[in-house]
C-alpha cells in the first residue's frame, strides 16, 4: 500500500540558451516507502513548487518523478488521484466556501465511482477526529483546525498511499498545530502513508520526519537524517546556518 518516491533532476526553465531563466535549477531526492520526508528552506526556495510539480498541478517541468517505480506522467489521471493527494497550506483557502463538508467529501467518491459513500465519509471524518454531525456544516461554521482536519479527510477519502503536505500547520496557532501533527503521525502509523512535507519550521521536522532536505534557491543543498538537528550535523554552510538559527531560536523560548 505504501509507495516510494524518486525525483531526478526536476527542473523548471523559462526561455532557451543564454537568456534562459532557471526557476528551479534541479532537484533530486528519493523517499523510501512509508517514510516521512521533510523539505525545509527559506521562503521562495522552491519547496512548494516541488510538490506542485510532483502532483502535476504545475506541468511545465522537466526531469523525472517516479512514484512506486512508475513515471508520474504515465500514470492515468484517476489512478494518480488515488495514489497521491495533497493537503494545502491555508485551510481558509483550500475548502470551497459554498460547499458543505458532505459535498467536499462526496465529490471525489462520485468522480471515482466508489461505493458506500456514507460509510466512507463517516470513516474519513472519524479518522481525523471530527464528529459525523460535521458533515452538514459549511467551512464558515468551522474553526481553522477543524477546517484543516476536513482538508485532511478530503485527502484521505480516496485512500491514497502518498500524501503531499504543503505546510499543513503554518496557518494554525501553536496548540492546534500540535494536534494536527499528532493526527498526521497517528494516521501514518495506522495506515503506513508516505509523507512528503514542506515546512520552514525545523521543530515540525524534528517531530515528524525521518529525513529532510534543505533547499536553497531551488536546489537541494543537503539531505539529513532527523538526528542531525540537535547536534547540528549539517556540512553545507547554509544548512548549518539554518539549523543553528533554529536551535538558537528554540533556546531563547
Amino acid at each position: 500500500m505504501t509507495v516510494s518516491v524518486e525525483i531526478r533532476d526536476l527542473a523548471i526553465t523559462f526561455g532557451q540558451g543564454l537568456s534562459a531563466v532557471r526557476v528551479l535549477p534541479g532537484v533530486s531526492f528519493s523517499v523510501a516507502a512509508g517514510e516521512c520526508f521533510g523539505l525545509v528552506g527559506e521562503s521562495g526556495s522552491g519547496k512548494s513548487t516541488v510538490l506542485r510539480c510532483m502532483s502535476l498541478l504545475t506541468d511545465i517541468w522537466t526531469g523525472e518523478v517516479r512514484i512506486g517505480g512508475r513515471n508520474v506522467r504515465d500514470i492515468p489521471l484517476k489512478e494518480r488521484c488515488r495514489l497521491m493527494q495533497m493537503v494545502f497550506q491555508d485551510p481558509y483557502g483550500s475548502l470551497h466556501p459554498r460547499q458543505s463538508v458532505r459535498t467536499v467529501l462526496a465529490e471525489p467518491l462520485r468522480i471515482h465511482g466508489m461505493d458506500n459513500h456514507e460509510a466512507r465519509m463517516n470513516r474519513a471524518l472519524t479518522d481525523v477526529g471530527l464528529p459525523v454531525s460535521f458533515l452538514d456544516r459549511f467551512p464558515h461554521q468551522l474553526s481553522g483546525g477543524q477546517r484543516q482536519r476536513v482538508a485532511i479527510a478530503r485527502a484521505l477519502i480516496l485512500e491514497p498511499s502518498l500524501l503531499l503536505l504543503d505546510e499543513p500547520t503554518s496557518a494554525l496557532d501553536v496548540s492546534v498545530q500540535a494536534e494536527i501533527l499528532n493526527l498526521l503521525n497517528r494516521l501514518r502509523e495506522e495506515r503506513g502513508f508516505t509523507y512528503i512535507m514542506v515546512t520552514h519550521d525545523l521543530a515540525v521536522v524534528d517531530h515528524m520526519c525521518d529525513r529532510f532536505a534543505v533547499m536553497l534557491h531551488g536546489e537541494v543543498t543537503e539531505v539529513l537524517p532527523r538526528a542531525a538537528i540537535p547536534g547540528n550535523g549539517a556540512t553545507h554552510p547554509y544548512a548549518r546556518e539554518l539549523i543553528a538559527a533554529s536551535l538558537e531560536y528554540e533556546g531563547q523560548l
Binding site: 489521471l77 495533497m86 468522480i111
Partner: protein
C-alpha cells in the same frame, strides 16, 4: 467566528437551510428603505401579473367609443384612452407582458453569460481571447440600435424584441463572470478539485459557477431595469409588442398624440415603467449588500 456560531446546531437537511437563506436575504433587504421599496414594488408587480384577471375591472381590449379620453375618475381609476379602453386594466395586464420579457431575457441571458464567462475565465489562453473578442463585438453595439436592427430584419413582434434584447444583454454578464472566475481559478480548492480527478467541466459547474452566481444574480437584477426600458423603447418605436397588446411602452407611443389634452394616457404607463425599473435598480443594489461574501457568516 464566535463561540455562538460553533455551538449552533448543524442544519438538519439541505432544503430548510437554503429556504432560511432566502428568508434571511429578504429580512436583510427589508431593513433598508430603498431596497425594501424595490422588493415591495417587485412583489406587487408579480402579484399584479398573477392576479391580473381579478384586479383589472375591465378587459384590456374592451373598447367603448362613447367613452373615449375620459379623465381619471368616473369608474375609470386612471381614465380611458382614445378607444375608450380602461387604462388601469391595461396597465394591470401589461405587467404580465413586462414580467414575461424580464423572465425570458433573464433565463436566456444568465446561463449564456455565465457559461461563456466561466469557461473562458477558467481555460484562459486562445479560447479566452476568442470568446472575449466575440463579447467585445456585441459590447461595441449600442444595445437599442442592435435590437432595432434585429427587429427591423425579423419583423416587429414581442418575441423578436425579447430575442433582440437578450442578444445585447449577455456580454456584460459574461465579462463579470470571467473576471470573477479569474480571481479564484488559482485558489487551493480548485487545485484540490483537480487533484481529485475532476474534469474541467465538473470544476466549472460545481466549483466555479456557485462562486459567480451571486454577482451574476445582482447584475441580472440591475439589468432588468435596462431590459424594461429597452422593451418600452422598442414598444414606443412600434417594434416591440404590437397593438392592441397593452404593453406599457406602446401605450405611451399611442398616447403621445393626445398628450397635451389628455395627460393621463402617457403619465400612468410612464409612472409604471419608472417605478418598476427604479425598483429593480434598488433591489439589485440591496442584493449586492445582502449577498456580499463578507456577510456570508450571517447565513
Amino acid at each position: 467566528m464566535t463561540a455562538k456560531d460553533i455551538d449552533m446546531p448543524a442544519p438538519v437537511s439541505r432544503m430548510p437551510s437554503s429556504l432560511r437563506a432566502v428568508r434571511n436575504i429578504a429580512v436583510f433587504l427589508m431593513r433598508s428603505p430603498p431596497s425594501a421599496f424595490g422588493l415591495i414594488v417587485v412583489a406587487v408587480l408579480v402579484a399584479t401579473a398573477v392576479f391580473a384577471p381579478l384586479i383589472a375591472p375591465y378587459s384590456p381590449y374592451a373598447q367603448n367609443l362613447t367613452n373615449v379620453l375620459q379623465p381619471p375618475g368616473n369608474g375609470h381609476l386612471f381614465g380611458t384612452d382614445e378607444l375608450g379602453r380602461d387604462i388601469f386594466s391595461r396597465l394591470v395586464w401589461g405587467s404580465r407582458i413586462t414580467l414575461t420579457i424580464i423572465f425570458l431575457v433573464s433565463i436566456v441571458v444568465g446561463p449564456i453569460g455565465l457559461i461563456v464567462g466561466t469557461t473562458s475565465g477558467y481555460f484562459g489562453g486562445r479560447f479566452d481571447t476568442l470568446m472575449m473578442r466575440i463579447t467585445d463585438i456585441f459590447l461595441s453595439f449600442p444595445s437599442l440600435i442592435l435590437a432595432l436592427a434585429f427587429v427591423a430584419a425579423l419583423g416587429p413582434s414581442l418575441n423578436n424584441a425579447i430575442i433582440a434584447i437578450a442578444l445585447t444583454a449577455w456580454p456584460p454578464i459574461a465579462r463579470l463572470a470571467r473576471a470573477e472566475t479569474m480571481t479564484f481559478r488559482k485558489a487551493d480548492y480548485i487545485a484540490a478539485a483537480r487533484l481529485q480527478g475532476a474534469s474541467p467541466m465538473r470544476i466549472i459547474v460545481k466549483s466555479i459557477m456557485p462562486m459567480c452566481l451571486p454577482s451574476v444574480m445582482i447584475r441580472l437584477t440591475l439589468n432588468m431595469a435596462t431590459v424594461i426600458l429597452t422593451a418600452a423603447g422598442l414598444g414606443f418605436l412600434g417594434l416591440g409588442a404590437q397593438p392592441p397588446m397593452p404593453e406599457w411602452g406602446a401605450m405611451i407611443a399611442t398616447g403621445r398624440r393626445y398628450m397635451i389634452d389628455s395627460w393621463w394616457l402617457v403619465t400612468f404607463p410612464g409612472i409604471a415603467i419608472l417605478s418598476v425599473s427604479l425598483a429593480f435598480n434598488l433591489l439589485g443594489d440591496g442584493l449586492r449588500d445582502a449577498l456580499d461574501p463578507k456577510q456570508m457568516n450571517r447565513r
